[in-house]
Symmetry: C2
Subunit: 342 residues, 2 copies
DNA sequence: CTGAAAGCGCTAACAC
DNA sequence: GTGTTAGCGCTTTCAG
């Protein structure tokens, strides 16, 4: 491995000068710069980022902690986060906790502040309180996509307006004439996605649909679980004309369940999801859903984390990205005539 | 940040002893161990992995370079690789090249041998020759899932037997009576997936189906591209009774295309994919496919990389994981009677 | 504008 | 068993 010292020797200067050439070339005489750069090229010198990190007292690595990357939302998020990080000269360490708080803690304990200068923590089973302690010790932690975290200036949270997102779904179904509506409440890591559901129920209530008219079934956040839950819910409540799922995976499972019990989507049953993962438009019928601005969330989370690393104080506790938008595709339609109230 | 020296001072020993307690406790007197551990606990000491890496001359980080993590095969792979790495005390840096060789080179240049002790390089647009040069410089590079790389002892490759995988698909369709067969040839990063196709065509040839009877259409490796390609192929060749896609995404697109032009799958058209991503069984109709042993591939690639980092020489150039297996689901059926030859 | 020197936090010989 | 010492490769004052 070629070191700074070797480059320095070859260019007839000291290591300090080489370092300057590489970092603040304007502070060095042009002819020297040229000589040093020549040596760098000839020797094929590449800075040792580990040594640099030690000397600077901070690494150029960010960690992204998530519960399970095989949930398709995360790869989409990782892609955006990695791109944002790369643009600012940072690398991204992926920490998959496998829904296991012990793994999450072990990761945090090992990397926060040493291997990774900052950590973006997606919804996990580690409590925000515990994370706040770690943040207190000086690590740049940023929560992301937590549905109900008590964000503080020391532990800010980047998220979307889940209530609003749920409300958009409600408004859409209401306007299509649906009144007998079921809901699948997802339970990912970090607890149930109940804010989304609350937003949904409240928006219906505001339109005169009683909250207890919404039949809710809880399940894990996956296609398979959504399938099972929808089957159960639809057999208990055969008159439902629409189903809201707090995330797209469950909505897709619900569509499959409907097909298997002979209900056509959207003619007999409308289904709407939340998130707008790629699969939502790739699946058939293409899923109507409320889209999250994934790229924006990721890049804000990355930017906020880097700002904290670099000592820039956050201006707010929570960063709500409000741009959830309704994406109408092929799984929602007007409520069947027979069931309409008005 | 609490340092070794502070722990040492508190425990009335030197830094070297603390280091020993943490790394080779059996070499230290039990009472000392206890005293040191107490100090560690009281101070909340956590080793600085950057400093350790610099001192040891190597990091405990692996990089995984892939073209685009939003292709659902990769998250599944990342999950397995990360788990395997974690078990051996390594962290995983995800390097997404966005199908851009310049990004790949930049990553390699920056991290190989400095930030990451080893790099697993998935199929990319950077040539194996170029990678071999980098490997020569001493970085632990391991190729993974390359379809046609000239693996060497200095640059080994972990992969599956693509020919065999293609052959399994061919045998299945043949046994169902299909003779008019189309193929979608995927073009991911790193070139066309032609070994899979060759295996498919050769296996058919071995059964007496002429190679030029297989109508091939090339396209990108995605659901959308598979959809377009299948539509085009099926309209050119309306008598096809079966379609082989060199990967599952394209197969899923093909199923959607068939539906849109009024062909029922599998009654009118059988479709078989390759890889067995999660989506293959989540999709409806559930996709018949040839499965890759993703977990095995990932863990072998990780193990091989770590072995190289730790100085253990690879025994072979190429590691072919031969366990591709046929997974029969709902998209393949006997060829329609009208079209059967025998 | 460049060089000298100290030090980031830890490890690893080698003494004692 | 434990301490001493010398780095790992780089950055960063501070002199000159």
């Amino acid at each position: 491995m070629v070191t700074l010292a070797e480059v320095a020797q070859r260019a007839q200067v000291t290591a300090a000068t080489v370092s300057n050439v590489l970092r603040n070339p304007q502070k060095v005489k042009p002819t020297t710069v040229e000589r040093v750069m020549a040596a760098v090229r000839e020797l094929g010198y590449r800075p040792n980022l580990t040594a640099r990190a030690l000397a600077e007292g901070r690494t150029s690595t960010l960690a992204l902690m998530l519960s399970n990357i095989s949930n398709p939302f995360y790869p989409e998020f990782v892609l955006e986060a990695e791109t944002a990080a790369r643009r600012r000269g940072y690398f991204l360490l992926v920490c998959n906790t496998d829904d296991n708080p012990a793994i999450a803690r072990a990761y945090l304990d090992k990397i926060a502040g040493t291997l990774a200068a900052g950590v973006i923590v997606m919804n996990t089973d580690v409590s925000a309180g515990e994370l706040a302690d770690i943040a207190q010790r000086g690590s740049a932690l940023v929560l992301c996509m937590w549905e109900s975290a008590q964000a503080t200036r020391a532990l800010p949270c980047v998220t979307v307006d889940y209530t609003h997102a749920g409300g958009l779904a409600a408004a859409h179904l209401y306007e299509l004439g649906h009144r007998r509506i079921g809901a699948l409440l997802g339970e990912g890591s970090g607890g149930p996605q109940s804010v989304r559901l609350r937003g949904f129920v409240e928006a219906l209530a505001a339109r005169g649909v009683a909250a207890d008219a919404v039949k809710v079934h809880a399940c894990r956040d996956s296609i398979e679980a959504g399938y099972d839950a929808a089957r159960a819910l639809l057999s208990e409540q055969p008159k439902l004309t629409a189903l809201f799922a707090t995330n797209d995976l469950m909505a897709i499972g619900a569509i499959q369940a409907a097909a298997d019990i002979g209900k056509r989507v959207p003619q007999d049953l409308s289904v709407i999801g939340l998130t707008n993962i790629h699969l939502a438009h790739q699946f058939r019928p293409a899923l109507t859903t409320v889209g999250f601005p994934t790229a924006a969330i990721a890049s804000i989370a990355v930017a906020l984390t880097i700002d904290r690393i670099e000592g820039i104080k956050p201006k707010r506790d929570a960063y709500k990205v409000p741009l959830a938008e309704l994406v109408i595709r092929d799984t929602t339609a007007p409520a069947p005539k027979a069931s309409r109230r008005k």
